[in-house]
């Protein structure tokens, strides 16, 4: 009795408060349960959720432009397309150095492909310009190489110049910046020691040349796995030197330079005397006059940010115009039509599955077990046949020289020259897909109908209800959960259907998923495919939510 009078919490056998002890036991149970499902959870997460999330993320991701043309997108920010003029020299200068590195890394064609989705012609513009980049500043490079009996053709001397000799201080900030840039461009790891640090003096006097050489050094050491001091520097280094020494104040800078190779550089600079300073804009326009096209530059500028709404706009028949989003030209609008058509046809298919499936499910549920099993096998039989075979069989049935038309002609119901068109249109898709998806409707209906007690019907009839009233007021309401489950299954399956519409749909019977498949496997526009897929997913979730609000998801039974 003394226990009950004791104040304070109730204690467990081991002296801890009972509440805490209970909580711990429950937690243990939860953890154990979690561990039991952990394999499945991890499996689903890794093989299902993550890949889908990654794919959907592509619908907004647009790193490629800023990764490939990292400097150009910055200098291009100040350009205003309204002027109707191509950007100025500074942008073309950035473009040259960006493009050169990108072409070495073979990344420029990827960017060309990406931008070609938005502006026709950019693909070949990038491909051909990447091939001809050496033409830019060609005379300057030749003059520099010839100067002083080819003194500057010595790769060891260049290495010496760019490191500033053994005593000079290094500019490691530049090195780190270029490391990050190269890593973003190629997607490779550039953190390794490359045996080169740009000299502080040279990088201060000739920043562009130091940058170009650092890019070259990083690329040579990491991508080509060669020793920097044993390789000829890229043309960009020569062009950068020519550009900087011929710029106003360049000669003074050179005169102030006292580091290694000063004599050779001075001699080389003299060799440039007869040449005009490099004009990047003029050179690019020489390569391809499309570089003067405002539309191309506007596209690069519009798609500079790391994330873009462009794919989503595209998938609802819009595009990024000069003043924000605008409708696409009418002759390119297709996706809204396809979304609507997909919804409409999926509804029709679901409805025809209900109409055809309900009587079958009813018979299945009310026959004696033996005959019901036989019928059940007939329902399941299509499941055991390949989808392609079933779809092709419909082709044989429905085509103009097909079985149904032949029979109709033989019966004299249809004239031989007026055979019915039943395939390669919406009708064909609806028929074939209804057939293919029918089991998904029948099975849930059947299992729900099996649980309906037949005595209710008898009770209704004995109370004076007609057959119809008994069915409609007593039986049907109880079978609704089965219809609901079957409809959700069939509708969601048909919304994402692809192969059957492709084969029997012709032009009017194809779904949005056919375009998604096209963009995944043919046009390689995965961003657009991801955006279309995301919208489709959102629509399905929205309909599911609406269904829950209107009918109630508790009202769905699979058995």
């Amino acid at each position: 009795m003394s226990d009950t009078t004791q104040s304070g919490p109730v204690l467990a056998a081991d002296g801890t408060p009972l509440k805490r002890s209970l909580a711990r036991a429950l937690r243990m149970q939860k953890v154990r349960a979690l561990m039991l499902i952990a394999p499945l959870l991890i499996f689903i997460l890794l093989t299902f959720i993550l890949p889908i999330a990654d794919m959907l993320f592509r619908s907004v991701e647009n790193r490629i432009v800023s990764d490939t043309l990292s400097e150009t997108v910055v200098t291009l920010r100040d350009w205003d397309p309204i002027t109707g003029e191509a950007p100025d020299e500074a942008v073309f200068e950035s473009l040259y150095y960006d493009m050169f590195v990108a072409a070495e890394a073979k990344e420029h064609t990827k960017l060309g492909t990406r931008l070609n989705y938005e502006q026709t012609g950019i693909s070949s513009l990038f491909r051909s310009s990447g091939r001809k980049l050496d033409d830019i500043g060609e005379d300057h490079v030749k003059a520099l190489e010839k100067a002083g009996d080819g003194a500057l053709k010595d790769e060891a001397l260049w290495f010496e110049i760019m490191t500033g000799g053994s005593s000079g201080a290094g500019d490691s900030a530049l090195l780190e910046a270029q490391r990050t840039k190269m890593a973003q461009l190629t997607g490779e790891d550039f953190s390794a020691d490359i045996g080169f640090v740009p000299g502080a003096e040279i990088s201060d006097l000739f920043p562009r040349m130091a940058m170009a050489y650092t890019d070259f050094a990083l690329f040579t050491a990491v991508m080509d796995e060669d020793t920097v001091s044993e390789e000829d520097p890229w043309e960009t280094v020569f062009v950068a030197f020519a550009q900087e020494v011929q710029a106003p104040g360049g000669a003074e800078k050179l005169a102030a330079y006292t580091g290694p190779g000063a004599a050779e550089l001075t001699a080389a600079a003299e060799a440039l005397a007869g040449l005009e300073p490099v004009s990047f804009k003029a050179s690019f326009l020489d390569l391809d006059e499309d570089w003067g096209d405002v539309g191309n530059w506007r596209t690069i500028q519009t798609y500079s940010p790391t994330y873009t709404s462009g794919y989503f706009l595209n998938s609802i028949d819009m595009q990024k115009g000069t003043d924000g989003a605008e409708a696409r030209p009418e002759n390119q609008q297709i996706y809204i039509t396809l979304f609507k058509r997909t919804m409409f046809m999926s509804l029709v298919i679901t409805a025809s599955c209900i109409v055809l499936g309900y009587p079958v499910a009813w018979i299945l549920a009310n026959l004696p077990t033996r005959s019901a099993n036989l019928l059940m096998i007939l329902v399941l039989l299509p499941f055991w046949t390949s989808l392609l075979v079933r779809t092709s069989a419909w082709k044989v049935m429905l085509q103009q020289q097909g079985v149904i038309n032949d029979v109709l002609v033989w019966l004299g119901l249809v004239a031989d020259d007026a055979r019915l068109v039943m395939i390669n249109n919406q009708f064909g898709t609806i028929v074939a897909m209804t057939h293919i998806l029918l089991p998904f409707m029948i099975l849930p209906m059947y299992s729900v109908m099996q649980t309906i007690n037949p005595t209710y019907l008898r009770a209704a009839k004995s109370l004076g209800a007609t057959n119809w009233t008994a069915f409609w007021r007593v039986y049907f309401p109880q079978s609704v959960p089965g219809i609901g489950a079957g409809s959700i299954l069939v509708f969601i399956l048909s919304i994402g259907y692809y192969i059957t519409p492709e084969i029997v749909g012709g032009t009017k019977g194809v779904f949005i998923s056919n375009r998604i498949a096209y963009h995944i496997s043919s046009s390689l526009n995965w961003g657009l495919a991801a955006a279309l897929g995301t919208i489709l997913l959102a629509v399905v979730l929205l309909l599911y939510w609406a269904y829950d609000k209107i009918v109630g998801i508790d009202n769905v039974k699979l058995g």
Partner: protein, 367 residues
Amino acid sequence: MKLRNLTALAATTALCAPLAFAADMADEMTIVSWGGAYSNSQIKAYSEPYAEKTGVTIINDESSAEAVAKLRAMNEAGNVTWDVVDVVAADAMRLCDEGLAMEIDPDEHLAAAPDGTSAEDDFGDLLVSDCFIPQIVYSTTFGYRTDLVGDTPPSKICDVFDLEAYPGKRALEKRPINNMEWALLCDGVAKEDVYDVLETEEGQEQALAKLDTIKDSVIWWSAGADTPQLLADGEVVMGSTYNGRLFSVIEEQKQPVAMLWDAQVFDLDGWIIPAGLSDERKARALDYIYFATDTQRLADQAKYISYGPARASSAPLVGQHAELGIDMAPHMPTDPNNAQNTFLYNYEFWADYRDDIDAKFQAWLAK
């Protein structure tokens, strides 16, 4: 000291031996192609003799239709499982652009012709991409039902657009490429101006307007096997497809079908090697390519399928069909009689305009 040197030497040899072996070639390879009769012809002409010669195990995969997308996915996953892939030239160019295919120097990696002509000259203009080794020239052209076209069989491409003379359905591919060119050609545009016209908005409208005149009589196909089936069933009176498919309908299945070679569009099919293979797999792939694209081997393939070999030096060696025993030369798209009026697939143009025109074409189809 001496002992230590010896052990060091032994260790080096022991280390080197497996290294030397590893630097050798892989003894298994996966070859990807299109399947069907085409893969068969490659297996008979290339793979079987190669496996016999080297003892390598060859796995055949039939995924060429999705090769670009799959290679891109493999590359992103960092695990490329294919060694040699058969693709059409347009796909090879895209793979090259995307950095998914390896660049191959024809003179370094391919056999010279028997008369000593370098590989580069032997293939000539057909080397349309740095990553691509052409293998065959095929053409997309029309076949028609001889029993359904009346007394004057179609002889010109424009007969396809003539519903009065040749009523009935036609099968066309469900994409703008080729169809747009044919439409313009039959709308009075001169052959050399076709692409200049097609570059413009009005030109594209013009082509679609011409296609509009037969739109209701067209069945659109997406797989190469569709048209032969539609022709055999009598669903269409004429249809476009690859010439090899028509050859098998006409000569192997003996269907009442004949060829309409006018304005056939040449295209190339050939090999690429995926980028990022290990050294031994790359060595094996290059070795296979060297073997499979020499003059004799390319001519051998024509024994099994009616596609023209891509090497100039192979043409005279083309003989008879391996089973039917008929001369293959007259069935080649490159045969002078067949090649009186031809088009060459314009790779540069379609690389640029494909997305744009396809969007318009699909929107037009859906209307």
